[in-house]
Symmetry: C2
């Protein structure tokens, strides 16, 4: 019995878009949803009050790899779990650690049992297995756990992608076997839901094969991984377009690691319920602000005397209170307040897009509004 | 006619401590007051909401030298002044720029007219005069402006200190002459109050001579500068003790650049109404937290599993919401949220001390409570 319940409340009659409610042990999440990334149990520069109050974030993502290394899952378990540790009362999803491990230069060895790697912090050697990453995420007390997957770079050969895809399927089965044994052992204790991850690089046959093998797991939700690894945008969309219809219609579908603001509606149109990306927060820190009229690069001299807010159409704390001129000054002066204010703005921009898309699906205007809600991809003119 | 009005509401019958109300064009400030430092028009890591809401700060300090160089006082003037630029609705004090200029390696030349220096940002040469620094601060629209002073290192010879003290007096007269001409020219426009600064290094005769010369200016308030430049703490206190009684009793007295939490009551006991210091915010960023039981160095391994707040006796946002273990994790992980949370805590600690001292003065219990409110100077045991 999964503690996660997903309810489809509206479906677009033309596209694959749907609006839903994801019931978690830490509250209800309205989908489609964008999940801000709190890699090290912190969305950089934001307090819990910013996230739950101003932004009304319902679900956050945190990284298993980083938190396993520091402070360690046993420390987090002893302190009452990740929610209590980081004082986050709402839903949490933790990734499998796979993406980070496979991005490491010091990756040691991949076997059918798992992956041996060296910490980027101190060089210590560690082994992630499908079982151990489940245990780590259970120690966190995550609402949604991700099964260990192998995440390949782009491009790879069909043969390499096929072998890797089979390993991911094998690992997913091992993770679910272990997870179900753990559930049986902790009957009265709430335990998060486990999602497997569809891989297969950019090969349609492999994606299909992986999806149908994972569907056998009867998981409470499914993810599509291995995207945003350097492939052209059209390919990522194509993989999502062919994979999502193969997944159970009544289960939430999570497209990992996407995307730019103008891409969000594209994924939603293809049936994505959940997305995450570091772009809004990372770009914010680098001085790139997303607006309804395109991207705004705050360091430009044209903003030096500009009393206007970042985006007239935005109602975030930053736009309500500060001018482009002040934000440019903070950025130029290296003041950390810039990162906080810019992150607040960019996340608001993402969350607002998702809220508008959801409304459009519910009101039956999604296909019409698709073009309207799509933000300008270029720079502010 | 000064726009600043100071009201003494209670005086300690035993010490020199007094409680007052400083009426500024941007609200009333309860004294004695500690003013957080927003060097570049930002208290590092804190939003206006943190400062005016959570901390209830009534007056902030900003730095003339930094804001003159970047973004420039003309930019700030065009954007409606410093209050509007940084979205700070309450009182602002700006320093004279003297302290920073005299700390520069690239200081060029001091004459009776002013001081020639090179920007630490790009090496450009600039001249600060008593008149120009008044004009810069008028462009900011500061509630309290400071007159240009010469700030010497410690130790210096009596002869050097005497010459410098005479130059500071000369500059103060030049600043007031210029300021009063500016007031006359802008009759209907509100204009901030100008404070001169008593110098004289650690020589009692020079301090006395400087104070009595500056009193002739009939200024709306007075500052004691040239402290916290490397001298022993006892000497700083001695200088304040002998200088403050020479200043008009009904005018606010500002002791610049002090101090540690345990020193605040000492200055208040000697009649200080206003203080400022970068210690609470700078120490916060370095992981040193002030508590009612002494200093807490967050990186220590003993806090790894510690679920307690930084200070059980503190009611700040950080102590209400986060554990030492989580704060240690943020610090170790280099997360900027640490600086925000630590600064919120340390400033709360300073402001709470000042609020308690003020209450004690009003209730007539200041001499008794002096020992009780004095925080432990050592480390948490």
């Amino acid at each position: 019995m999964s503690p996660l319940r997903f309810e489809v409340v509206a479906e677009c009659p033309v596209t694959g878009a749907r609006a839903g409610l994801l019931h978690t042990p830490h509250g209800v999440v309205e989908t489609p949803v964008f999940m801000p990334v709190g890699t090290q149990a912190s969305v950089k520069g934001l307090t819990q009050r910013d996230l739950a109050g101003e932004l009304d974030v319902r679900i956050l993502l945190a990284n298993t790899y980083h938190l396993f290394l520091r402070p360690g899952h046993e420390v987090i378990r002893r302190l009452g779990g990740l929610h209590r540790f980081m004082n986050w009362p709402r839903a949490l999803l933790t990734d499998s650690g796979g993406y980070q491990v496979f991005s490491l230069d010091s990756l040691r060895r991949v076997t059918d049992d798992g992956v041996l790697f060296r910490s980027h912090l101190n060089g210590d050697e560690h082994l992630f297995t499908p079982e151990s990453t489940v245990d780590i995420q259970l120690a966190f007390g995550s609402d949604i756990l991700m099964a260990l997957d192998e995440c390949l770079p782009y491009p790879v050969s069909h043969d390499a992608a096929r072998q890797s895809m089979h390993r991911t399927i094998h690992w997913a089965h091992a993770a679910f076997d272990h997870y179900r044994r753990q559930i049986a052992r902790s009957a009265d204790q709430p335990i998060g839901a486990l999602f497997p991850i569809v891989q297969g690089s950019m090969f349609p046959d492999l994606r299909r094969q992986c999806a149908s093998a994972l569907v056998e797991l009867d998981a409470p939700g499914y993810a599509v991984g291995g995207l945003s690894v350097g492939e052209p945008r059209a390919l990522s969309l194509e993989m999502v377009e062919l994979t999502l219809p193969l997944l159970p219609r009544r289960r939430p579908r999570y497209v990992m690691g996407v995307g730019m603001p103008e891409e969000l509606p594209e994924y939603v149109a293809r049936g994505a319920d959940m997305m995450d990306c570091v772009l809004p927060s990372r770009n914010a820190r680098n001085g790139c602000l997303f607006t309804s009229r395109g991207r705004l690069v705050i360091k430009q001299a044209r903003y030096r005397d500009d009393p206007a807010p970042v985006d007239e159409a935005c109602s975030c704390y930053t736009c309500r209170n500060y001018s482009r001129a002040y934000l440019r000054h903070l950025f130029q002066a290296g003041e950390m307040l810039f990162s906080t204010l810019a992150t607040l703005h960019n996340l608001t921009h993402y969350l607002d897009i998702m809220r508008r898309l959801r409304q459009a699906i519910i009101f039956g205007s999604f296909p019409d509004s698709l073009r309207l809600v799509r933000p300008a991809p270029g720079e502010v003119d």
